[in-house]
C-alpha cells in the first residue's frame, strides 16, 4: 500500500506522486504458496485494475487492512465512512472506472448506506467491501454485528456474502462486472472475518471484463425513425445515461445531424455543451423557463438515458402533453415505467444513437422558435443590491476556470444555481447528487474526483448547511494535500427549505436558521487549509482569481443574502409550464 500518512501525495498536492513504503513486510512474497483470504481480496482488487480505494478501518476488516500494507493499492483514509463512499463515487464519475470503498462491520457498514443509495439512484458503479463478524458469530447479535447484506438490499444492484475463501476470485470478478455493465450501480461484498483470516493455496484471478451493448432491433429503430420524420417539433431530453454509456459524441453527432434542440436533466448537464445555440438547459422543478416551455410544446420527445424523474417532469399527467415519446435506455425496466413510450429502444445508447438515421427533418420553423425562446428567457445577471450574487459568481467561476474544470456540488440552492448558471462542456465535469439529493456529497466527491483526475481543476461548491454534513473530510484534504478548491456559499440558512417554507408553508420558518454557524475560515485554517472570505460583490473577481491560483486545498467563504431564492420554481404538484419566476410570486412573503 502506498503510504497513507504522507502529506501531499497524489492528488494535486505540491510534491505530487504517491510514495511507497521502503520495503514490504516479509509476511508475503509475490507468489506465495499459501495466501490469507485478506491477501486474496487485495489481489482480486488489483486484478480488476483498482489502484485507489477509499475507506476506514475497524475490527472486522482489520485482516484486509493488514493485507493492504502488502499491496500496491493506494488507500485513502476518509474521516467517516460516508466520506469514503462519496469519494469513491466522485472517483468513479470523474474517471469512468469502478470506485471502491471499504468499511468495517456494524457502524462502519451502516455509515456507507447513504452513499450506496446515492450510487444506486444515480447509477454509479462502485464496489463496497465490508468486514463482517466471523461466520460462527453471525446471527448472535455479536459486537458490531449488523446485517448489512439485508440492510442494503434495496439500494444495491447486487450483493454478496463470501462464505468460502475459494469464492473470493469469482465474487470479485462478478461484482466488478455487475457494477460496471448494463445500467451501472453499487455492489456490496460482505466478508466475514474468518474468511479473511483463513489460508488458501493461491487461486487464479480474473481481470476486468468488457461489454459492448448492441443496438435495439431494427424494426424498433425504423419505428423511431418514422416518428422522427413525421415530427415538426422534436426535442431531445438528455439524462445521465448518455455520459454513463460513453455516448456523448454519438449524442452530439445525432443532434447535430438532425438539428434537434435539447434539454437535459440535472445529471445530463454537459452532455450537450451548455452554450450550444440549440440547447435550452435543464428542465424540471428548477429548470430553465425556455427548457420547460419547449418540453410542453414539443410533439416528439426523444428521451436518451433519462427516467422521467418527478423533479424533471413535474405533474406527470401534464408533462409534454402533445408529445409522442421515443425512449432510449440500457435498462429495459425504465421503458414505460412512468410515461408510456411510443417506441422503446433498449440496448446500448451508443449503438442506438449511431444507428438512428431518420434523414433530413423539416423542423426549421421549430428551431427558429427555439432560438427565439432561448433568447427571450436568457438569464440576467444585473441583480439589485450590493451583496454577492451567487449565480453570477458561479457563472464567472466556470468561465474563468477553463474546460478542465470539475465541479462537485452539495445539495441545496447552490446546487441548483450551479446547474442553471455554470458553463459545462463535458458531463463528467458536473458531479451532483441527483436522485438522492444527499447533502454532504460535495466535498468527499470532489476529493474522489481529484484523485481520479489530479490535473483537473476540481471545485467543490457547497453551502453552509451541506458542508457541515461531511466537514471532517477537510482533514482528508489536508492529510493528502488534495488540491480541491471549495467555494462555500453561506447564507446562514438552510436556503432551499427556507424558500419552500416561505412559499408553501406561510412563511413559518422552522429550524432553518443557521446563524450560529462557526467561523468557516477559522475552521478551515484549523484543518490546515488556506482560507479567506469574500463579502462584497466587488471582491468576487479577486477572490476567484486567488482561489484558482492557490496551490493545494483552499476554501473561499462567500457571504450571500439569506433571502435569495432559486428561480424559476415549479411548485410541487404543478405542471412544468406553471413556473413561479421571482418577485411577482413572492409578494407578501417574508
Amino acid at each position: 500500500m502506498t503510504t497513507a500518512t504522507a502529506r501531499k501525495t497524489s492528488a494535486g498536492g505540491a510534491s505530487g506522486g504517491a510514495s511507497k513504503p521502503a520495503s514490504k513486510p516479509d509476511t508475503a512474497s509475490d507468489s506465495p504458496a499459501e495466501l490469507l483470504g485478506a491477501d486474496l481480496v487485495v489481489r482480486a482488487l488489483e486484478a480488476q485494475g483498482v489502484t485507489t480505494l477509499f475507506g476506514y478501518p475497524g475490527g472486522a476488516i482489520m485482516p484486509i487492512y493488514d493485507a493492504l500494507t502488502r499491496s500496491n493499492l493506494t488507500h485513502i483514509l476518509a474521516r467517516h465512512e460516508q466520506g469514503a463512499v462519496f469519494a469513491a463515487e466522485g472517483y468513479a464519475r470523474a474517471s469512468g472506472k469502478v470506485g471502491v470503498c471499504m468499511a468495517t462491520s456494524g457502524p462502519g457498514a451502516t455509515n456507507l448506506i447513504t452513499g450506496l443509495a446515492n450510487a444506486f439512484l444515480d447509477s454509479v458503479p462502485i464496489v463496497a467491501v465490508t468486514g463482517q463478524v466471523p461466520q460462527a458469530m453471525m446471527g448472535t447479535d455479536a459486537f458490531q454485528e449488523v446485517d448489512v447484506f439485508g440492510l442494503t438490499m434495496p439500494v444495491v444492484k447486487h450483493s454478496f456474502i463470501i462464505r468460502d475463501i475459494a469464492d473470493i476470485p469469482s465474487v470479485f470478478a462478478r461484482a466488478f462486472a455487475i457494477a460496471r455493465e448494463g445500467r451501472p450501480g453499487p455492489v456490496l461484498i460482505d466478508i466475514p472475518k474468518d474468511i479473511t483470516q483463513t489460508s488458501t493455496p493461491a487461486l487464479a484471478l480474473d481481470g476486468p471484463t468488457q461489454s459492448n451493448p448492441r443496438a435495439a432491433a431494427s424494426d424498433h429503430l425504423s419505428e423511431a425513425e418514422a416518428l422522427l420524420r413525421a415530427s415538426k417539433k422534436p426535442l431531445l431530453y438528455v439524462g445521465g445515461g448518455v455520459r454513463i454509456a460513453g455516448a456523448v459524441r454519438a449524442l452530439r453527432t445525432f443532434a447535430g445531424r438532425c438539428g434537434i434542440p435539447s434539454v437535459t436533466t440535472l445529471n445530463g448537464i454537459g452532455a450537450i455543451p451548455t452554450d450550444d445555440p440549440m440547447h435550452l438547459g435543464m428542465l424540471g422543478m428548477h429548470g430553465l423557463k425556455a427548457a420547460n416551455l419547449a418540453v410542453q410544446t414539443c410533439d416528439l420527445l426523444i428521451c436518451a438515458g433519462a427516467r422521467f424523474d418527478d423533479r424533471a417532469t413535474g405533474k406527470l399527467a401534464e408533462f409534454a402533453p402533445e408529445a409522442r415519446v421515443i425512449h432510449l435506455d440500457i435498462d429495459n425496466a425504465e421503458i414505460s415505467k412512468l410515461r408510456r413510450a411510443d417506441v422503446g429502444l433498449t440496448g446500448g445508447l451508443l449503438a442506438n444513437l449511431y444507428a438512428l438515421e431518420p434523414g433530413p427533418l423539416d423542423i426549421k420553423e421549430w428551431t427558429t422558435s427555439i432560438a427565439a425562446l432561448k433568447s427571450e428567457h436568457a438569464w440576467r445577471y444585473d441583480a439589485p443590491g450590493e451583496g454577492v450574487y451567487a449565480p453570477k459568481l458561479l457563472k464567472d467561476l466556470s468561465e474563468r476556470a477553463g474546460d478542465d474544470l470539475i465541479i462537485a456540488c452539495d445539495v441545496g440552492q447552490h446546487q441548483m444555481w450551479v446547474a442553471q448558471h455554470c458553463r459545462f462542456r463535458r458531463p463528467e465535469a458536473h458531479l451532483t447528487s441527483g436522485g438522492l439529493g444527499a447533502m454532504g456529497f460535495g466535498l468527499p466527491a470532489a476529493i474522489g474526483a481529484k484523485f481520479a483526475r489530479p490535473d483537473a481543476t476540481v471545485v467543490c461548491v457547497s453551502g453552509d448547511g451541506s458542508i457541515m454534513m461531511n466537514i471532517q473530510e477537510l482533514a482528508t484534504l489536508n492529510r493528502y494535500g488534495v488540491g480541491v478548491k471549495i467555494v462555500l456559499l453561506d447564507n446562514s440558512m438552510l436556503g432551499l427549505v427556507r424558500q419552500w417554507q416561505d412559499l408553501f408553508f406561510g412563511g413559518n420558518r422552522s429550524e432553518v436558521d443557521l446563524s450560529d454557524n462557526p467561523d468557516f475560515v477559522k475552521v478551515a485554517e484549523a484543518f490546515g487549509l488556506t482560507a479567506f472570505a469574500v463579502e462584497r460583490r466587488e471582491d468576487v473577481d479577486a477572490g476567484l482569481k486567488r482561489l484558482l491560483a492557490t496551490d493545494g486545498p483552499v476554501l473561499m467563504h462567500v457571504k450571500i443574502d439569506s433571502t435569495e431564492n432559486v428561480w424559476p420554481l415549479v411548485p410541487p404538484g404543478a405542471a412544468n409550464h406553471d413556473m413561479m419566476d421571482g418577485a411577482a410570486d413572492t409578494d407578501g412573503m417574508p
Partner: protein
C-alpha cells in the same frame, strides 16, 4: 387464487438461483415496487436453482405488471419470469 385476488392480480412464476439472499431480494423488490404478495410457494429445482410462484396485486391500480416483470427480471438472481393465470386483463406489451 384466494378471495383477495382482484382483476389486477397476476400470478408470477420465477426461477431463481439459490444464492444467499435471492429469495428475499426478489420478494423485497416486488413489495417495494408497490405490489401485495400472496400464495407464495418456493420449491427447489436442483442445487443451483429454485422455483418461486406467487400472486401479486398492485396497491395502486395504475401499476403495470409488465413494468414489474422487467424490474424483477433485472435482478441478478432471477433467471426466468413468466406472468401466468392473469384473471382478466392482459398485461401491456413492451413497446
Amino acid at each position: 387464487m384466494t378471495d383477495t385476488a382482484t382483476d389486477t392480480t397476476r400470478r408470477l412464476a420465477l426461477t431463481l438461483t439459490t444464492a444467499e439472499g435471492a429469495l428475499v431480494r426478489t420478494l423485497g423488490t416486488i413489495e417495494r415496487r408497490g405490489w401485495r404478495m400472496s400464495n407464495l410457494r418456493c420449491t427447489p429445482i436442483d442445487a443451483d436453482s429454485q422455483a418461486l410462484e406467487l400472486d401479486v396485486t398492485p396497491r395502486d391500480p395504475s401499476r403495470n405488471a409488465d413494468v414489474l416483470k422487467r424490474q424483477v427480471e433485472r435482478l441478478i438472481d432471477v433467471t426466468s419470469l413468466e406472468i401466468q393465470n392473469t384473471k382478466t386483463a392482459t398485461t401491456e406489451p413492451t413497446p
